[in-house]
Amino acid sequence: MTQPASFVPAEQFADAEKQAHAARLGMWVFLASELLLFGALFTLFAAYRVEFPSAFRASVEHNTKVLGSINTAVLLVSSTCVAGAVHALRGGRTKLSAGLVASTAVLGAIFLVIKLTEYAKHFADGIYPGGEGRFFEEHHVRGFSEFWTLYFGMTGLHAVHVTVGMTLLTVMLVGIVRGRVTPATVHRLEVAALYWHLVDIIWIFLWPLLYLA
């Protein structure tokens, strides 16, 4: 995976290879931290799902399954794009890489648009976070409010991560165009891509929990 890097390293590093290694390791450790951040929400979800199985099942069935599944496909394609972008940049095909990074960010934007459409549908159904709205007057059983608040909390936090990831990718795109992210400094793009894959992986767990199970 690594090839000898050749750029002028920051003064605290002995050589460029070490700096690239540090960047990758730093991102991996950060991702571990991120997983635990979502882990707290997954724990809450598990606890309440065990407590209110029927309300959770009814809520999942009420959810926007088609839009959620399309969004899964969108994110998976975007992750493939960013993986291709790293591969292309390492092989010296800078233009292809820039194109793939741009498509990844655009797919991220499409994901957000679909996500907001879903939110709009929920609001129209009278579902708001915190158990507010018409829906919860009709379903006056414990568990519905927990599911939907967790739904908004988890997908909302995920959407924040999508936005951060898109920002990172945009910075990378500018870097590729301006010649700061090059085949020699491919580790920068790699680190951004790692973050994007995290966004993807979290969704891979959210999708079955919130739309299918």
């Binding site: 931290s33 951040l37 882990g39 158990g131």
Partner: protein, 539 residues
């Protein structure tokens, strides 16, 4: 800063540039460590003033100097300041930042700008907590338990967001230290040659990175609970307050090891230096840090024995909690065996370490006692628990922190403090601490509940003893601040290695040059090898 000029000072990290900008925007890990140290000392002073006020209030039953509401806010602020703003970042952010790169033979940490950012993020979070103090205070206790924290009218959101932001600073520091230890070591500093302080900081960083995000998430949910009515933890809205306790202690129990492990690292450095011996077992001390870090994640339930938990769970958490004592004992026996037949020179840092050993073992044994469910039911939420965790956390972390300040003061400033005053104050701090908290064991066992404003008259004698103890402790710390401040500007030059230590940070001038070493450092002699003289040392 010219007052700090010592023979070698021109190239030192303190004076190579002296503008405000050169400090505020520095990426030098030593300057960041020093800035953290001053910020943390301010927090310690603030938390200490709250503590003194609390003790003064308890001088007599009923109102003494404040109302019950002020008292509730005061003990919360004491806890929040001490735990979140002082103890959790204390040794890693200050001494860890300053020493870790030097100890692995590097020029700087892996991500210097991240390091600087973690300082400002800490300041931002701490400021937000301070703002909450002015804007109505907060009266939930430092654990922020719902449902009370979701309904109290006090400034819960500001304080919790402040702690949340401080958590980010902790995570950044943790990531930086893990990556630095992995990638920045000098080629001749292999894992088994690293000073033990580095092992301790590394284990701490792992906990910081893995536990802090859970706390962050939970605090955000409490804020959402308070501000938007997301009732995850509020029974009035269908939530489960015990679930909060599970998630909170999943972080906050490991956080105890975030506080104590770096202290253990300091002890592991100080003892070999002043006994002039290698540690009895380097590997046992290094691995025991990881044992503690690991077991620390599996013990959180012992905070909730009376909150509703099956007997089997309680038993399992009790046994796992006692495992902590096994790893702690491995360390304590290693330290005491290192001292055995050592050429001991009793300097201030070592005296603080003796205080540490006594208080840590004493507090640790009471910890095994409270991990036993049948006993804990009696002691839960009494002064017994307060005394227990002050023995471990203050007796452990604060004495280690003071040992670290005295031990590395000559390295950081290039100057020496008054040894006589140092020894005197170490004795005062120890005596004051013991007199303050020992009576609280008896009070708790007698039924004095924690966080109560009032108490029956027959508890007064012990409360008065405890309050007098707090004055001795306060005096010891105030005199320490005085002579250290004096030594900072007027102390005699310390020289590169005043303690005759072998550890790596003593192989460079005091204060160290900007890039830590003047020439390519040599680590051929081990960090604890007292059989050979160091290069350039008359011996």
């Amino acid at each position: 800063m010219t007052a700090l000029a010592s023979p070698r000072a021109r190239s030192s990290y303190l004076v190579h540039a002296t503008t405000l900008r050169s400090w505020a925007l520095t990426t030098d890990h030593k300057r960041i460590g020093v800035m953290f140290l001053f910020a943390l000392l301010a927090m310690l002073a603030l938390g200490g003033i709250f503590a003194m006020a609390l003790r003064l209030e308890h001088l007599t039953p009923g109102p003494t100097i404040m109302t019950a509401m002020t008292y509730n806010r005061m003990f919360t602020l004491h806890g929040v300041t001490m735990v979140w703003l002082f103890m959790i970042p204390s040794i890693p952010s200050s001494f860890g930042n300053f020493l870790l790169p030097i100890m692995v033979g590097a020029k700087d940490v892996a991500f210097p700008r991240l390091s600087l950012m973690s300082f400002y993020v800490f300041l931002a979070g701490a400021s937000l907590v301070l703002v909450s103090m002015v804007a109505g205070g907060i009266d939930t206790g430092w654990t922020f338990y719902p449902p009370y924290s979701s309904s109290t009218p006090t400034a819960v959101p500001a304080a919790l967001l402040g702690v949340f932001i401080v958590g980010f600073s902790t995570i950044m520091t943790g990531i930086n230290f893990i990556v630095t230890t992995h990638t920045m070591r000098h080629p001749s500093v292999t894992w088994m040659k690293m000073p033990l302080f580095v092992w301790a900081i590394y284990a701490t960083s792992v906990i910081q990175v893995l536990a802090t995000p859970v706390l962050g998430m939970v605090l955000l949910l409490v804020v959402a609970n308070h501000s938007f009515g997301w009732g995850f933890f509020d029974p009035a809205r269908g939530g489960d307050p015990v679930l909060y306790q599970h998630l909170f202690w999943f972080y906050s129990h490991p956080a105890v090891y975030i506080m104590i492990l770096p202290g253990m690292g300091v002890v592991s450095e100080v003892i070999p230096t002043f006994a002039r011996k290698n540690p009895y077992s380097y590997k046992a001390i290094a691995y025991a840090s990881f044992g503690l870090a690991f077991v620390g994640f599996l013990t959180w339930g012992h905070h909730m024995f009376v909150a509703g938990m099956s007997r089997f769970d309680a038993g399992a958490f009790g046994v796992l909690s006692m495992l902590v004592a096994v790893f702690s004992a491995i360390k304590v026996f290693n330290w005491t065996w290192t001292l055995k037949r050592g050429a001991i020179s009793l300097k201030t840092p070592l005296l603080y370490v003796f205080a540490f050993l006594f208080l840590f073992v004493f507090g640790g044994m009471t910890g095994v006692a409270v991990a036993t469910m049948s006993l804990d039911v009696h002691w839960h939420d009494t002064y017994f628990v307060v005394a227990h965790f002050h023995f471990i956390m203050v007796g452990g972390t604060l004495t280690a922190f003071l040992a670290a300040i005295h031990y590395w003061f000559p390295k950081m400033t290039g100057r020496m403090y008054s040894e006589r005053l140092g020894l005197l104050c170490a004795a005062l701090v120890f005596a004051g601490f013991f007199v303050t908290f020992f009576p609280q064991f008896i009070l708790g066992n007698g039924g004095m509940p924690r966080r109560y404003f009032d108490y029956p008259a027959h508890f007064q004698v012990l409360h008065v003893v405890s309050t007098v103890g707090s004055w001795i402790l306060g005096a010891g710390l105030a005199i320490t601040a005085g002579y250290l401040a004096h030594a900072l500007f007027r102390g005699p030059a310390a020289g590169p290695n005043p303690w005759g230590s072998r550890s790596f940070e003593w192989r460079t001038p005091s204060p160290p040059p900007k890039h830590n070493f003047e020439s390519e450092p040599s680590f051929e002699i081990d960090a604890y090898d007292y059989t050979k003289p160091l290069a350039g040392e008359p011996q």
